[in-house]
């Protein structure tokens, strides 16, 4: 069984989806950053799983804590004396990943792949039921937003029949 989408197709999907979330929700322009130095400092990681009838996907957003702090301030900065707690930063990254995943899900549907999203989880996780003997098609994209850089990865693989 072959993977449903090529790496190039996944990169194109990510390249459309990630900037839209930053522009719409954070009012920030982001740039592709192909020469990003990894690993990112103090990373915050969120994973959203997508389960379809013939394939499954995992989407992982990794942002340095400083970037998550800036995103939280942009989203919630006008909330009086609100100071985000540690778990709040994980939640911000989870929600941004959820939004990107929603946009990706729309694009997957346009490729004939229908499925449902799962709630975001902190960390890099592989939800139960999606384990596969197939090597997933992996797409890792790198981005810069002002003073911070981040990555978004999109992995898709056919389901075990």
């Amino acid at each position: 069984m072959t993977n449903p989408l090529s790496q190039q197709e996944l990169i194109q999907i990510a390249n459309r989806s990630v900037p839209e979330v930053w522009q719409t929700q954070l009012k920030k322009e982001i740039q592709p950053s192909p020469n990003l130095n990894l690993p990112l400092p103090s990373p915050r990681i969120a994973t959203v799983a997508w389960t379809g009838s013939s394939a499954s996907a995992e989407m992982v957003l990794t942002i340095p804590s400083a970037g998550a702090q800036l995103a939280a301030q942009t989203l919630l900065g006008a909330s009086g004396n609100y100071v985000p707690e540690d778990t709040d930063l994980d939640d911000v990254v989870g929600e941004l990943c959820n939004m990107v995943a929603g946009r990706v899900s729309t694009e997957l549907r346009q490729h004939g792949l229908t499925g449902t999203l799962h709630p975001p989880l902190p960390g890099r996780t592989s939800p139960s039921g999606t384990a596969t003997p197939f090597t997933p098609t992996v797409c890792l994209t790198h981005w810069t937003c002002g003073d911070y850089s981040f990555t978004f990865s999109l992995n898709i693989h056919p389901n075990v029949s």
Partner: protein, 130 residues
């Protein structure tokens, strides 16, 4: 009198964002982190409007909405979906359940406020007298 809005989303970020958005208005915003908590809040508060996520642990938005519509005391409460999920089957399901609007995340604040104001009156907060 303040309008009561119940925000049901597993993301604290979204709940805080909505709280910030509606702070300029005479709105009492209540929060719940999943559909089950949301139902309990709805029974207690009887909100004028519910803003509901779909993907949530414990009880998702569609299940919560089905419970809401089967409760004679709650079934007429207007609901706006605010979710990253844009699956046409889910949109069709919640449309049949009488959802008033469906907003896909990421979202812009002003259009959401405009859609809310078509359902409930949003009066500006009265500045505190010095």
């Amino acid at each position: 009198m303040n309008q009561k809005i119940l925000s049901i989303d597993d993301s604290k970020t979204i709940r805080l964002l909505l709280a910030r958005m509606f702070r300029p208005f005479q709105v009492e915003l209540r929060e719940a982190g999943n559909g089950e908590e949301g139902l309990a809040q709805a029974r207690e508060v009887r909100p004028d409007l519910i803003i509901l996520d779909y993907n949530m642990p414990v009880m998702d938005g569609v299940t919560m909405l089905q419970h809401l519509r089967h409760d004679p005391q709650l079934k007429s409460i207007p609901v706006i979906m605010l979710t990253a999920e844009s699956n046409p089957k889910i949109i069709s399901t919640v449309a049949r359940l009488g959802v008033r609007d469906y907003i896909v995340k990421p979202f812009q604040e002003q259009p959401l406020i405009a859609k809310v104001s078509k359902i409930i009156p949003l009066q500006p907060q009265v500045p505190a007298s010095s």
